[in-house]
Amino acid sequence: MSGEFDQMYREVILDHYKNPRGHGTLEEPGAHAEGQNPLCGDEVSIYVAFGEDGETIEEVKFSGRGCAISQAATSMLTEMVKGRKASEVAVLPKEELLEEIGIPLSPVRLKCAILGLGTLKVALHKAKGTPLPEEWAGFANELELR
């Protein structure tokens, strides 16, 4: 198989995909949001529990179905944000996550990779009022017919 192929489905991606960290839900989350990728219909729910200071992310869980890239990226994300403050994660650049994923992504697959991060930012915005720049606002759109 081609090098490109080996790169995209490299061992660490397949490992996170097949054994996702933080997969599950939280009973009474301190923050919660549901995100959707309109390109493929994938859905992800993010649940956050905060520490005693009400700011530090103590636990993050996610549920939903998605492709290897979105599942692996969200799994990596849960490891990346644990122990960080909500305000810090709210401004976490997507590049930091993409670097961790470490594979070249087409624009369509980029949407898969950042679905979890966008949804987490929406959850924090809803619970803690952290800023949600326009770039991420689309993840919060609940499309309803008016």
Binding site: S2, Y17, C40, D42, C67, Q71, C112
Partner: protein, 414 residues
């Protein structure tokens, strides 16, 4: 009836007309199995576009000079080809739109807003493409009409025994259905639905985007009131589609887009509308694209819709046989004899995006996603499917490569 030939097509020979197949993808020959999304373009269409721009291009209809007259003749010639292709009674009933989507929006807005209200029922189906679903949902909500659907059975076929209940639920005013499902390939019983719609005093709106390129379509035999199809799914350019509608309905409707071309006269006090079909063609249309659409209709007509349908039937029969070899693979939809060249499937535990991505590395192009049919995905109990679709240039060995690719997908991700 539209004139068709029953001579079988030679896909290998036709393939030479499509320059895209001269290029490799990831170092492998292209197996393009996404024609339901959009078809590739033959040289005959590409040449026509170029020749038209080089020799006959100007804006249409209002110019008095020679070039404008030639452009208008080519544009109106394309309209006549579109008319003949679906056996419409008159070219004034053929409206050029941007796409099938715009054509269906035109009907939903221009007919729906003035003819629907509380107590009325809009009927769509569970396997409708969003283009023939969302506009009706929206207009029903705007007008206070109720929005109901015809359910499908486990094979993805319409459950017509639900019609009585729908009829009892109010005044059915619109029935909207695709002639062929873009996700499952199901060939829907539009003649029956049209007859039922007319018994209820409703209009029948047909999305023929997945039908017109693949089999003979005859608006008079179908007995429908509106029918829409696209150029780009029929070997033609993007940006142009056609809406056929019965003249008496079109005459009674308000315009959809307003502006230049669609008027008879404009004053500060009052504007009157142009005659059909121009009343519905505001602004400069996609002129060269329409001419290219005409060339595509010529190309497809010369091969013959019946020959295309027969070729696709052979391919889809073979594909369904071979897909059954893959462990954990579930094919959705009806048996091969009740579908066109479309096959949607789920590979247990593996997301369609990953299936499509691994196949891409093998040079195989398939579509992964909800195919703009989310209510259908919900009914099937999946978020997305992988879809392979065939056309006149598709070959059995491309299906063999798909099968080999799917084995590889299972090895990597299973």
């Amino acid at each position: 009836m539209a004139v068709t030939t029953s001579k079988p097509l030679d896909a290998r020979l036709l393939r030479a007309d499509f320059p895209v197949f001269e290029h490799e993808i990831h170092g492998k020959p292209l197996a393009y199995l996404d024609s339901a999304s959009s078809t590739q373009k033959p040289r005959q269409v590409l040449d026509e576009l170029r020749t038209f721009y080089e020799t006959s291009y100007a804006n249409v209809h209002r110019g008095v000079y020679d070039l404008a007259e030639r452009a208008t003749a080519a544009f109106e010639g394309a309209r006549e080809k579109a008319r003949a292709y679906v056996n419409a009674p008159s070219a004034r009933e053929m409206i050029f739109t941007r796409s099938t989507t715009e054509a269906l929006n035109l009907v939903a807005y221009a007919w729906g807003l003035d003819n629907l209200g509380p107590g009325d029922v809009v009927v769509i189906t569970e396997l409708e493409h969003h283009a023939n679903f969302v506009p009706w949902q929206f207009v029903a909500q705007r007008t206070g009409a109720s929005f109901r659907h015809i359910p499908i059975d486990d094979l993805g076929e319409l459950q017509l025994d639900a019609l009585d209940e729908l009829a009892a639920s109010g005044r059915v005013k619109v029935v909207a259905n695709n002639l062929v499902s873009n996700t499952l390939g199901t060939i829907n019983p539009v003649e029956k639905l049209a007859a039922w719609a007319h018994e209820q005093g409703a209009i029948m709106v047909v999305d023929a985007a997945q039908a017109a390129p693949h089999r003979a379509v005859d608006v008079q035999a179908l007995g429908c009131d509106f029918l829409a199809f696209s150029s780009h799914k029929l070997c033609g350019p993007t940006g142009v589609g056609a809406l056929w509608g019965k003249a008496e309905l079109l005459e009674a409707m308000s315009p959809f887009n307003l502006g230049g071309e669609m008027i008879r006269s404009v004053s500060l006090e009052k504007t009157t509308w142009n005659e059909l079909p121009y009343k519905f063609e505001a602004g400069t249309p996609a002129i060269a694209e329409a001419v290219g659409f005409g060339a595509a209709i010529d190309y497809v007509s010369a091969i013959g819709p019946d020959a295309i349908a027969a070729h696709e039937h052979e391919l889809v029969t073979y594909a369904m046989e071979r897909l059954a070899e893959i462990p954990g693979l579930r094919v959705f939809g009806p048996p091969a004899d009740r579908r066109t060249g479309i096959v949607s499937f789920d590979l247990e535990g593996i997301h369609p995006h990953d299936v499509a991505q691994v196949l891409d590395f093998e040079g195989i192009a398939v579509r992964a996603g909800h195919h703009c049919t989310q209510p259908l995905m919900t009914r099937l109990g999946v978020v997305a499917t992988t879809r392979a679709s065939f056309y006149l240039y598709s070959l059995p060995e491309e299906i063999d490569r798909l099968i080999d690719g799917l084995h590889k997908v299972r090895k990597v991700l299973g």
